[in-house]
């Protein structure tokens, strides 16, 4: 049993100058064969391995990661967590995740700092109002806490928003989900890694997949820079690189990988204590525990794996920020960065079997995957272990692109974050 983390263990270890902490996870070399291999050591992949070990009694599992765990979109996103989605399938999926979030720190014995500070979405035109009301009604009937706020209530909940009706696109109202909020992104990856490691999962970093070996319609293992690793079940959770792995297996996916940028300001004392998102005036902002304003920008329209986006996107985002929060004009951008997001045509994810037996894909999370991390891992583990989807991810299959039964969060809410 590893060190239990608590204030008491911190005090105890202070006496030995913190020299006796154990590794949060080991760094093993790969074995020749595993029962299941998860490709991709981000939050989703590590969670998948964790739940495979914990709920499906699999003991011989590896997570292979080409860089360092949590170094992709997990460590690059703006950490917004909410479940107020329009469609039943999405609401089911994201609220499943949200419920796990609510006890995750205790389950992992790792403080993921899930902070239910509320997420507010703003309406700036009459169609926004209709759409947000539609969503709020659907949420309420789906048992998701969402309320519609008028302009005054928006202002009351977040006083620094410019709710003057004289601005270009005045705030006409908004929806609020109070259970929604933010979490510490790195902690999610590290916490799942520590938990999975403790149950015997091998977390293998700097291990890049070079090929997927198939025997006819069945998967046999992966070629990596650390050699061939055999497995009957392979779950791919490679985010922006999903298509690259799919191509190795001779599959094509309905994905495009695009740059998504984010930025933080210099840290300041608390000034905004909720998360505010606006689709029409494209800006969303929260403040980290460290005090930085965390601001998400939009995607570029071209495919890129360079982890860089165009300056116009950042500039446009800050235009919108100053439109809604003129007081931030003299705040300074400290750091900006980009990630690669894999986007489905309907802006909903894929958690699905494929035409290759034993090969599973969890991808297409676009700009909003972080919030789903625990739920996605849980449901993907279920899908891999049982070779069939859980009812909560049944709608997120690959066949929907053939049948036309899309889960179109895109059309429903301009930009789905």
């Amino acid at each position: 049993m590893k060190n239990n983390y608590s204030i008491f263990s911190l005090i105890k270890n202070a006496f030995s100058y913190h020299e006796n902490w154990e590794k949060a996870w080991k760094d093993p070399e790969p074995k020749k064969e595993y029962e299941a291999i998860i490709v991709g050591g981000g939050g989703h992949g590590l969670a998948t391995a964790y739940y495979l070990a914990k709920k499906h009694n699999m003991k011989n599992i590896a997570v292979v990661e080409k860089g360092w765990i949590g170094g992709g979109n997990t460590g690059r996103n703006t950490t917004i967590i909410r479940s107020n989605y329009l469609w039943d399938a999405s609401a089911g999926l994201y609220d499943h995740a949200l419920k796990i979030w609510e006890g995750l720190s205790q389950e992992l014995n790792y403080n993921v700092m899930f902070s239910q500070r509320g997420v507010m979405n703003l309406a700036h035109n009459l169609q926004d109002v209709r759409d947000l009301k539609r969503r709020t009604h659907a949420n309420r009937l789906n048992g998701i806490d969402a309320v519609y706020l008028n302009t005054e209530e928006v202002k009351k909940f977040c006083p620094i928003i410019n709710t003057s009706q004289d601005i270009r696109y005045p705030v006409l109202g908004g929806t609020l989900q109070r259970r929604a909020g933010t979490a510490r992104h790195d902690a999610v990856a590290w916490g799942y890694a520590r938990g999975a490691d403790e149950m015997g999962v091998d977390i293998i970093q700097n291990c890049e997949v070079k090929g997927i070996k198939r025997n006819g319609d069945t998967v046999e293992g992966i070629e990596t820079n650390k050699g061939f690793i055999k497995a009957k079940k392979i779950g791919v959770v490679a985010a922006g690189h999903s298509s690259v792995i799919a191509n190795m297996a001779g599959l094509k996916l309905p994905l495009e990988s695009k740059p998504l940028q984010a930025l933080v300001s210099e840290p300041v004392k608390p000034i905004i204590d909720t998360v505010v998102m606006s689709n029409a005036v494209h800006a969303y902002v929260s403040q980290s525990d460290k005090g930085e304003l965390v601001i998400g920008a939009g995607t570029d329209d071209y495919i890129s794996y360079s982890q860089k986006g165009s300056h116009d996107i950042v500039e446009g985002t800050l235009n919108a920020i100053l439109e809604l929060y003129p007081i931030f004009s003299r705040m300074r951008m400290l750091r900006q960065w980009g990630g690669i997001v894999d986007i489905c045509p309907d802006a909903s994810p894929i958690i699905s079997k494929t035409s290759v037996k034993g090969l599973y894909f969890n991808c297409g999370w676009g700009t909003g995957g972080f919030k789903a991390t625990p739920g996605s891992g849980d449901l993907f583990a279920h899908t891999i272990a049982n070779d069939e989807p859980h009812k909560l991810n049944a709608a997120f299959n690959l066949n929907r692109f053939v049948s036309g039964d899309l889960v179109d969060e895109h059309g429903a809410a301009a930009v789905a974050h």
Partner: protein, 91 residues
């Protein structure tokens, strides 16, 4: 931000252009003859290449012409530009 050499206008800032995704996906001449699978392949399935990709761009805030670009998506370097209907000049 890229500089894109529009084959009709010359070198211009990326902000004048819109990307149109993977090139050379020909719209089927007889869609009704296709199976659901084949139609889905045309509609949604993409190579989404990491590396040298052939793609469509539109000079949206310029001459409004569509044309093709060869670009390495791993570092965004543009290798070549060519007009619609022309054969790719590289590879």
């Amino acid at each position: 931000m890229f500089l894109i050499n529009c084959p009709f206008c010359g070198e211009r800032e990326q902000s004048e252009f819109k990307a149109g995704g993977e090139a050379h996906i020909k719209r089927p001449k007889q869609p009704t003859e296709l199976s659901d699978d084949e139609w889905a392949e045309f509609l949604f399935m993409r190579k989404n290449i990491k590396g040298v990709q052939f793609e469509r761009w539109n000079h949206a805030h310029g001459c409004r012409k569509w044309f093709n670009i060869v670009r390495d998506t791993s570092n965004d370097q543009i290798k070549a530009v060519y007009k619609m209907g022309e054969k790719p000049p590289v590879k």
